[in-house]
Assembly symmetry: C2
Homo-oligomer: 225 residues x 2
Amino acid sequence: MRPGPRRSLTHAEILDAAFDLLEAKGFAAVSVRGVAGSLGITPTALYTYYPSKNALLRGMVEHLLARLDLGTLTEADSAEVGVAAVRARLVRIALSLRELLAGHAGALGLIMSGPLDGPNAMRLNETLLEQFCATGLSLDDAARAAYALQVYALGSIALESAEVDVESDAATSDPLIVTDASGAALWTDLARFPMSEQTMTLVAERNSTAQFAWGVERLLAGLIG
Amino acid sequence: MRPGPRRSLTHAEILDAAFDLLEAKGFAAVSVRGVAGSLGITPTALYTYYPSKNALLRGMVEHLLARLDLGTLTEADSAEVGVAAVRARLVRIALSLRELLAGHAGALGLIMSGPLDGPNAMRLNETLLEQFCATGLSLDDAARAAYALQVYALGSIALESAEVDVESDAATSDPLIVTDASGAALWTDLARFPMSEQTMTLVAERNSTAQFAWGVERLLAGLIG
DNA sequence: ACCTGAACACCGTTCAAGT
DNA sequence: ACCTGAACACCGTTCAAGT
């Protein structure tokens, strides 16, 4: 309507609008045009604030991680209760991270927009390093362990979002007929996979928080000597 | 040029063309128009073979998993050497899966196009279930463990691809200046993250196969009683 | 059944121009 | 500095029409 350096948007306002769009209409709706439109500016104006769509996405990751609750651990806890308290806190952090990412549809697309090297990502990493070191791990092993825990949390989100994302597609095709690698239609012979068949009911609910917590506990059991 | 039911493409030909495109020009180049163009047909003709781009992507996942080497384990091995042999095979499967996915740029985008429920995905799952059961795990725990292992492998790929994908972006901006959640420019005060600073050299190479194998070993240590 | 060509409603990004 | 409007080179998908 009227050009000129009238009012200035803050980055926080832009990121909030982007998250509103993400939650309301999904990852695909988070376009330069879409975000700009919801802010009442033209797409090109958005390039004043972020040099590319990827930069906007990376800003969203930091905005999200800023809300990550890393919890607390008093000195008394770490001194007295020992590794058990530290381990409990690590589980809490992992659960918070998963909840934060699972709560936003398409958050994985955000994470994959670039390396986790922003201030808030480093704050998370630093906390994990501290906790793993507190269990007696060397700094090197703590670094590997912190990475492994983030790998597990992100992989969990990746697999979960893959299973949710396709409702409409799956509904239109017969679930008993499947197309193999060469394109030939065939019956998915569940008898060929007897164990998978038996665990299918478990599989149906394996993406729950409980399954995630189970995996994190097992991973920590392997990581912490 | 000339319409009509002249020659018929196989699904394998289409998927091969799609993978050529993926390896040559990245995930973004795997478009309906791009794949069709490289096959010498129009975009609409491709919809004869796959009802949507997502279906094409899911076909690519199955095509990829068909090439996954699940290895072998003789009965003598499992009977005599016990869990050690099974565990070694699980590590080999995990490494094969990672290598397969890491070898194709943007493979994670493929995986996230839908649930891993194709025949080859089930073949992988069934093998993992067998192996975990062979270590003495209950069927329920084996199912959770198999899922956890896939979570770890996929998370590893997700984090790796996030760190590679942004070379051009990172090169154009000063790595010492960073934009925080509210958009204010600030120095990334590495002194605020002393442990992360110390482990940065390790971080630089932590995406290697060795780091992945380390994590898988630790995870298995936690999973297998 | 398999294909074409045109069209619809979108993308990210660039550029000259306005205030 | 911040913004607009037009443009470029793309998307996935649908539809009527041809053989």
